[in-house]
Each structure stands twice: as structure tokens, then as C-alpha cells.
Assembly symmetry: C2
Homo-oligomer: 175 residues x 2
């Protein structure tokens, strides 16, 4: 790059050359596989499922965080496909039933696999008016992943506090 | 996309159309600003700095995690620029001095701002032989961010366990 002028550097830096939709799909699904493993790593000690009862520092239990990840992911998939970002009822669907969570999780995984490739690739570099501000499709998409990594990592601390070895991180890196 | 054939969908999905180098720079720097705020949020109670003493579940204190983030970020910047990925001495430079950490942090922030735009944009979509496997420049770059989000989120739990309100998440979303 030493022979490239400043103008060329600027032009190149604005071109969306880093990430393909296929890579983003793999990346998202890899993250989902790891989060699912973290959900499953919480001990079920009936009648109390630690997934929905254990926490640190008065934070939400990991099962509740996992439902939030699920809702944000569902919202993001809808937004990317349709340009509409309807807010979910955050408190609905947050059951204390681990099987229900995993079933919803797997349903959305299949839906992402099917529907993400239908997103117009141009959507990602365009700007969109989201309820929480104007941003690119990229920013909307990556916020969703960041939210998942952020809350999943909190689950790692809960597991350590329970004396349980969490799944290796990151473990999901594909091409 | 309903009128697009499967072949076209496939071709489009392989094209790196989602993210520009300029957006990636903003995204990385936004993450760094938030992590810096988390570092600063830990109470300093001399002679014991909670940044380097407090932890949950026998995990590493947040100051040590922050040094790891720093080292991985430095390594990643070098790798993206040169294609070389020399492993750092993980235990070196991990001082218990908060001012030293923040100074190294700010130095690297300036270096990223200056040097990331010098990375050949083609690097991101090409495959590279990293010490931990063959992957694209994208995968190498995003692993670095994921590692930062993952460990920073663990700092959020430590702060909550200390009774301290962490900085709002994500707070760094740009275009």
C-alpha cells in the first residue's frame, strides 16, 4: 500500500469488501451453536433449573438472557428481510421451560438458514431508519451478534461460579 | 429476491458486500472506547486495585483480561498489516499498574487508527494460514472483536457483583 495515494486509500476504505452474506450466515450460525451449548451446560436440578434460577450480582439468569438473545435475533432476521423492526413483547415467551427455549432456538436456527440468503445483499451497505436510530444494515446485523456474544459471556461467568467448565471459546470460527 | 434464481443467490452470497474497511475501523474503535470505560469503572481502593484483584468463579481479574484483549488486538493489527502472526509472550507486559494498561491501550488505539487503513482491503476476503488454522482475513479480524466483547462482558458481571452499574451496552454503534 506504500504506493497508494491518500485518495485511493479513502476510496478503497468505503468499499464493502470485507464480508460476504455466506460468511455472515456461517458466523451467525456458529455463534448460535456455541450459545446453545452454553444453555445446555447449565445443570438441571429439579425442581430448580439453574438455567432459570442461578445468577451473579442480581443479574438475570442465563435462561432469561438466552430468551432475550432469541428475541433480538428473531427481530433482526425480520428487519433484514423486510426493513420492518417491530419490537417484541420482551416479557412474553420467556418461559422457565428449558425444552421450550431449545425448541424455539432450533426453530429460529432453521429459519435463519433458510431466510438469511433471501436478504437483498445491498441491504447491508444501505442506511436504514431503525427505531433506535439511523444505521447501516451491517450495523443492525452485527449488533445482534454482539448482543449474543455479550450475554453468552455472562453465562460463562455463571458457569464458572457454579464450578462448571464452559465450552471452549470461540470454537465457531469458519472461513 | 423472489425472482432471483438459486444460482444468482449463491453468487451474490459469496460476494463481500457487507462491510467496508472504514466501517470495520469505526466498529473496532467503538468497541475499544467501551472496553476502556469498563476498565475505568473498576474501583481503585489502594493498596488493592479491584481491577487486578476482584474476580468471580476463580476467573482472571478484569485487568488481566484487558491485557489479553490488548495483546490479541496488537497481534491482529500486525497480522492484518503484514500477514505474520507472531505469538506474544502472554505473561509479559501484564502489569498490575492501571496507568500502564491505559497508556498501552491508548497507544494501540492511535496505532490502529493510523495503520488499519493501510491494510490491503483484499486481505480480508483472502484465505490465510494462521498459526491456529486456515481462515479469511475477515475471520481473523472478527475473532479479535469477539474476544474483546466476550471478556468485556465478563467484566460487566464483575462490576455487577461489586454493586457497580456498568456502562450501557452497546453504546458504540456507528454507521
Amino acid at each position: 500500500m506504500t504506493n497508494t495515494s491518500a485518495v485511493e486509500v479513502h476510496t478503497q476504505s468505503e468499499a464493502p469488501v470485507i464480508l460476504s452474506p455466506a460468511q455472515f450466515l456461517d458466523y451467525w450460525q456458529g455463534n448460535r451453536r456455541l450459545t446453545r451449548r452454553v444453555i445446555e451446560a447449565f445443570p438441571e436440578d429439579p425442581p430448580e433449573d439453574q438455567l432459570f434460577s442461578f445468577s451473579v450480582g442480581e443479574m438475570r439468569p442465563f435462561g432469561v438472557l438466552a430468551w432475550e438473545i432469541h428475541q433480538v435475533s428473531e427481530l433482526t432476521l425480520t428487519g433484514l428481510r423486510t426493513g420492518e423492526w417491530p419490537m417484541p413483547e420482551w416479557r412474553n415467551g420467556v418461559s422457565q421451560d428449558r425444552a421450550e427455549l431449545l425448541s424455539a432456538w432450533d426453530g429460529l436456527t432453521a429459519q435463519i438458514q433458510k431466510e438469511l440468503p433471501q436478504v437483498n445483499p445491498a441491504f447491508f451497505s444501505q442506511m436504514h431508519a431503525l427505531p433506535w436510530g439511523e444505521m447501516s444494515g451491517w450495523a443492525a446485523a452485527i449488533y445482534n451478534i454482539d448482543n449474543e456474544i455479550h450475554h453468552r459471556a455472562q453465562g460463562y461467568v455463571y458457569l464458572r461460579a457454579l464450578g462448571i467448565e464452559p465450552p471452549p471459546f470461540p470454537s465457531y470460527m469458519g472461513p
